[in-house]
């Protein structure tokens, strides 16, 4: 019973936060809302028995990626935006409409799939050990590839950001 409450609370909380990300004119605030949403997501992982993933989510997303975002926002010293949304009322309307239609389609398509069985909590297979096992046997190639990708991105990011020119308006 309380799992439902927690879930609905959490999902409501997360929806509100993401809307915050969308609607808040101040980028810093939207970044912080995003941090909270990430924490919400790690909680969801936790509810889905993916403890390790929750932690990793916290470390990777909340801890590093979004810190990057916040740092960049601070670096640019972005104030509250005058125009937050894209130009053109009709295009905006069209975008929102597309979004809504997409949501409806997604939700409708969920019910096409037959209901899966009960969530088994903490069953034997769902341990981090098996996760690591899989990761280093079956997906070893992809794992190495990711390593390379991250290396490349690191170098890329450094190269990109070394371009001359100040970050603040002279």
């Amino acid at each position: 019973m309380e799992a439902a409450i927690v879930f609905y609370g959490l999902s409501f909380f997360m929806t509100v936060l993401s809307l915050g990300v969308l609607f808040n004119p101040n980028p810093i605030m939207s970044a912080l809302y995003l941090v909270l949403t990430m924490i919400g997501v790690s909680l969801v992982f936790f509810m889905l028995d993916a403890g390790f993933l929750a932690g990793v989510q916290l470390i990777v997303y909340a801890g590093a990626v979004l810190v990057l975002f916040v740092m960049v926002i601070m670096l640019f010293d972005l104030k509250r935006e005058v125009y937050t949304f894209s130009r053109g009322f009709f295009t905006r309307l069209l975008k929102v409409f597309t979004g809504v239609v997409f949501l409806i389609i997604l939700v409708k398509s969920f019910f096409l799939v037959p209901e899966t069985k009960e969530l088994l909590n903490s069953s034997t297979q769902m341990t981090t050990k098996n996760l690591a096992g899989l990761l280093f046997t079956e997906y070893i190639f992809v794992f190495e590839l990711l390593g390379l990708l991250l290396l490349a991105v690191a170098i890329g990011a450094v190269a990109l950001s070394r371009i001359k020119g100040g970050t603040h308006a002279e």
Partner: protein, 387 residues
């Protein structure tokens, strides 16, 4: 949180107690710090108020309360206020996850005409199977408080301080995480309790098929992971922004770094956050490398048996007694490390920022990787049964 009212209330009380314990330690540590630094610098330190200056803590607290509040203009006020709170939260939550002692087992007892079933109370505010990952995750959130503080006080120096601090924290988080990998390899589990459980008794390991026992050494993590310990120890200093690494709020250059604008109670909150983080770090140190709440060469069961025979209390009473005994042991170890923190602060000079970064990326990280690989190899060689 437990199934019935008793369990819930006790758990809540336990969590509150642990949180208060963390908060209360801070003024004590401040006192210790001031006295310690004075002792190191061959001077007296606060001794006017109350015996040995103990009342100084209360004075400081009162001082912080009545300091004038500076607030930036409306736009940044929210973040300005949020920063100190965020600084507080990770420390408290992380500390809650660390097992301070053996879990207490309470048999069925009658109370107010109702029989309350057997309870098991973990001696920590929340019992998580994925201890390490959770703590690491939470501690990584600490960076936000610094960033927000630096940014919302809207002056260049604090901004720079904040950027430097968060950059430092993130880079050392890397080294922190990697150094723990050695421990994980050895103890094969994320759960703190399990790690501590494996550090009982005296040092015993298999070496080329034979079991070797060195009885003169306790079965602590440090002996398995000496290099890991050193790396962790240094990384923890960086994480907590303690002296060798406290460049961001170094008085001489950046005035007070990111909390120049803060005064009063908000400043106090930052202190709590800082010292809280210090507390958590030393608790982790103790848990991973110094056997947590184990008394060297003695397993908690032997202690339980000893207490029962020595004090003759009922089983719940004796488990409570052993829990608090081991908790005391744990606290002693933690205090020792806290002293080390303070001791280091007042002895080592401050790093330059580039040295700081070089240390973090060019020495700590490679060593951590080396340690991980080495441990992995050894574990692989020793664990597999060479038939």
């Amino acid at each position: 949180m437990g199934s019935d009212i008793v369990e819930i209330s006790i758990n809540a009380a336990k969590a509150l107690a642990i949180f208060l314990m963390m908060v209360q330690i801070v003024p004590m540590l401040v006192w210790v710090e001031r006295r310690g630094s004075a002792f190191i610098q061959n001077r007296f330190g606060p001794n006017r108020i109350g015996p040995l200056g103990l009342m100084q803590l209360i004075a400081d607290a009162v001082k912080f309360l009545f300091k004038e509040e500076f607030l930036p203009d409306k736009k940044r006020r929210l973040l300005f206020l949020a920063a100190p709170i965020i600084a507080l939260i990770p420390g408290a939550v992380a500390f809650g996850a660390i097992p301070l002692s053996v879990p207490i087992h309470v048999e069925i007892f009658e109370f107010l005409g109702q029989s309350w079933g057997p309870y098991r109370f973990a001696f920590q505010s929340v019992e998580l199977g994925i201890g390490i990952v959770f703590v690491l995750g939470i501690s990584s959130l600490a960076a936000y408080s610094i960033l927000l503080a630096g940014w919302s006080s809207s002056n260049k120096y604090s901004l720079f301080g904040a950027l430097r601090a968060s950059a430092q924290m993130i880079s050392y988080e890397l080294a922190l995480g990697l150094s723990l990998v050695g421990i994980l390899l050895i103890y094969n589990s994320f759960d703190f309790a399990e790690i501590i459980a494996q550090q009982q008794g005296s040092l015993a390991f298999q070496f080329l098929g034979k079991d070797i026992v060195w009885s003169f050494l306790p079965n602590w993590g440090i002996f398995y992971q000496p290099l890991g310990f050193v790396l962790f120890f240094v990384a923890v200093f960086a994480e907590a922004n303690r002296l060798p690494f406290d460049l961001p709020e170094a008085e001489s250059e950046l005035v007070a770094g990111y909390h120049t604008e803060y005064g009063g109670f908000k400043m106090n909150m930052f202190y709590i956050g800082e010292y809280g983080h210090m507390l958590v770090s030393s608790a982790l140190l103790v848990t991973f490398y110094f056997g947590g709440y184990n008394i060297p060469f003695v397993t908690p069961d032997q202690v339980l048996a000893g207490v029962e025979s020595f004090l003759g209390l009922s089983s719940t009473g004796s488990s409570v007694a052993t829990a608090f005994l081991l908790h005391g042991v744990f606290l002693v170890k933690v205090l020792i490390f806290l002293w080390v923190f303070i001791w280091v602060r007042w002895t080592l000079p401050r790093f330059r920022y580039d040295q700081l970064m070089d240390l973090g990326w060019k020495t700590m990280l490679p060593w951590a990787l080396a340690n991980t690989i080495l441990t992995a190899i050894i574990v692989f060689i020793f664990r597999t049964q060479w038939v």
